[in-house]
């Protein structure tokens, strides 16, 4: 069974590519074009999830997103669902990413851009398979 993924991505081309590649591997990806949209989509999905489980297997965020930055989005999502797995994909230098990972919970992972789409899919699949959901 494919994974449920939420991606906050304001670059329309990157969003389109994520859609293509994840769907190729039988996963379902929902794209949010900015931070607000991301939080709203998550809240809606959480409401609709009948069993109270995390509505997405993975939330993929960038640090810089329109309207609400990635860290704030992550915090709001973790407030709603503390065990939600989140992966940051960002073009920031590793120094800043290290700083950010220190203040975020360990359920958050960080990928540095640029990376191949294939690598992203593998990373997400591995993360969901290897780690036991809390």
């Amino acid at each position: 069974m494919g994974l449920q993924i939420l991606s906050g991505e304001d670059n329309e081309f990157a969003a389109m590519q994520y859609k293509k590649i994840f769907e190729k591997y039988q996963h379902r990806i929902t794209i949010a074009k900015d931070g607000d949209d991301c939080v709203a989509t998550y809240r809606k999905a959480l409401k609709e999830s009948a069993d109270g489980q995390t509505p997405f297997d993975i939330v993929l965020l960038d640090f810089i997103m329109p309207k609400k930055n990635g860290v704030r989005v992550a915090k709001e999502i973790l407030d709603m669902k503390p065990n939600q797995r989140i992966i940051f994909a960002s073009a920031f230098g590793t120094g800043i990413l290290d700083d950010a990972s220190a203040i975020l919970k360990d359920s958050v992972e960080i990928l540095q851009k640029p990376f191949s789409l294939d690598f992203l899919v593998k990373k997400i699949e591995n993360a969901c398979t290897l780690k036991t959901p809390r």
């Binding site: 990157a14 590649i21 704030r72 073009a91 230098g93 191949s116 294939d118």
Partner: protein
């Protein structure tokens, strides 16, 4: 401070010289008294005493001569000669005092008193010689038994005694006057010196107090100045530190802006290779992303030019409304659902400006409004007051956060307020201000009373070159 110390030292020096001079004057006066006046007075008093004995012996001689008491007459006669020898010695001694001590006295004293005393002493000496001659005649007459001229010679002797005594009194009076004058001069000198020294000490005290007060005041002022400067340095330091932080953030985020489009480029290549999308679509996407990188890089280069005052403008005459219309048309192609762009452009507004740069400003402003407006209307309007053309871009978006206003057009402003700003690399408005400033125009923004924000700029319609390019970093 240095001058005060100098004055104090000078005054102390003057005080020392004064006391030295006064001491030396007093010493001179003391010397006059001890080696001249006092011994001379003694000599004159003794002379006076001897004179009185002489007088007595002359009177006794007359008495013994008249009573024919030869024996006593001879005794008295001998006494007279002994006294005369003593008198001559005394006169000689007094003359010696005048001559020898007179030489060592201060010249002004020597001139007046010594000369006059010396003359008087000569005259006394002359009187004594005459007196002795008369006495000689007197005693010779008594032995030659002549009776007629004895009483006359005795009278002559009495007259000469009186003259001598008067001369002695005169000399004594002069010496006593000199004593009095010396005493009063010494007293006056003492008083003068005391007064001067009191004045000097009080002056030195006043100067010292004033200087110390001034030095205290200067110290206080200096301390205040140092505190003020330290505060202003701390402020400047704080400002620099803030700017440095902003710059660091800016560099980090600008690199992010440059790297971000690379990911979709790699994505297109990857997808095209696997045949997940067709090559045409991949190439178009890659071209667009490359264009985005180019745009960011160009903006950064332009900012660099503005900051170094090297933005070159290429002035040409064009219709501002036509430019606005073209840009709006292009922007409409990329509108998201729910957002509209309206225009209010009337007639032709001919301006002389850099068309490309003004286009850049308009695009920046429209893009800025689009970023903040998720649904609603963006109105692009122009107006013209004869000398200036104005463009307003009004949106119905989120408006500008009050915290953003002070630095809205500064470089890095976006970066410093990430939480209030949804997107953007913080360069667009700074660049726009640089361009408008270079045209001698005005740029600004405000929140609309009914929601959303309005950005505006106005330009002189005719070319005004050599516009000063503001460097916002310094504001």
């Amino acid at each position: 401070m240095g001058a005060s110390v100098g004055i104090i030292i000078l005054m102390l020096g003057v005080a020392t010289v004064l006391s030295f001079s006064a001491t030396s004057t007093i010493n001179d006066q003391m010397r006059i008294m001890t080696i001249f006046n006092t011994p001379l007075e003694k000599a004159i008093i003794q002379m006076n005493g001897l004179q009185k004995i002489q007088n007595l012996t002359v009177e006794n001689s007359v008495l013994f001569y008249e009573s024919k008491d030869v024996k006593n007459f001879e005794v008295v006669k001998n006494q007279f000669y002994v006294n005369s020898a003593l008198m001559t010695d005394q006169i000689e001694e007094a003359r010696n005092i005048i001559i020898s001590s007179g030489k060592t006295l201060p010249p002004e004293y020597a001139k007046s008193s010594v000369n006059s005393l010396s003359q008087k002493m000569d005259s006394l000496d002359g009187l004594e010689i005459a007196y002795l001659n008369t006495a000689e005649r007197f005693f010779k007459s008594t032995s030659s038994n002549g009776t007629t001229n004895i009483a006359a010679i005795a009278n002559e002797l009495r007259l000469e005694e009186k003259l001598s005594e008067s001369q002695q009194k005169d000399i004594l009076a002069e010496l006593q006057n000199s004593d009095k004058s010396i005493e009063s001069t010494a007293h006056a000198n003492k008083e003068k010196l005391l007064t001067l020294e009191v004045i000097l000490i009080v002056s030195v005290g006043i100067i010292s107090l004033t200087s110390s007060h001034l030095v205290n005041q200067i110290n206080k002022d200096l301390i205040l100045e140092v505190v003020k400067k330290t505060k202003s340095l701390q402020k400047a330091n704080e400002k620099l530190r803030r700017l440095n932080n902003l710059k660091d953030e800016f560099i980090s985020e600008a690199s992010h802006e440059l790297i971000s489009p690379l990911n979709p480029i790699y994505g297109f290549v990857e997808l095209a290779k696997c045949g997940d999308i067709d090559k045409e679509e991949a190439l178009t996407g890659i071209a667009k992303q490359a264009h985005q990188i180019e745009e960011v890089a160009n903006k950064m280069l332009d900012i660099g030019k503005i900051d170094r005052n090297r933005l070159q403008l290429s002035f040409e005459k064009f219709d501002l409304n036509e430019l606005l219309f073209d840009i709006v048309q292009a922007s409409r192609l990329e509108l998201v659902k729910g957002v509209k762009i309206q225009t209010r452009l009337e007639g032709i507004i001919e301006v002389e400006a850099d068309r490309t740069r003004i286009g850049q400003v308009v695009r920046n402003m429209i893009n800025n409004s689009l970023k903040f407006t998720s649904c609603g209307t963006i109105l692009v309007a122009s107006s013209n007051d004869g000398t200036h053309a104005e463009v307003r871009i009004k949106d119905t978006g989120a408006g500008i956060h009050p915290a953003m206003f002070p630095n809205l057009f500064n470089k890095f402003s976006t970066m410093s307020n990430n939480k209030h700003n949804p997107n953007g690399n913080g360069l667009g408005l700074h660049l726009s201000k640089g361009i408008i400033d270079a045209h001698n125009g005005r740029i600004g923004a405000f929140n609309n009373p009914d929601g959303g924000a309005t950005f505006f700029f106005s330009l002189p319609k005719t070319c005004q070159k050599a516009g000063v390019i503001q460097n916002s970093l310094t504001t």
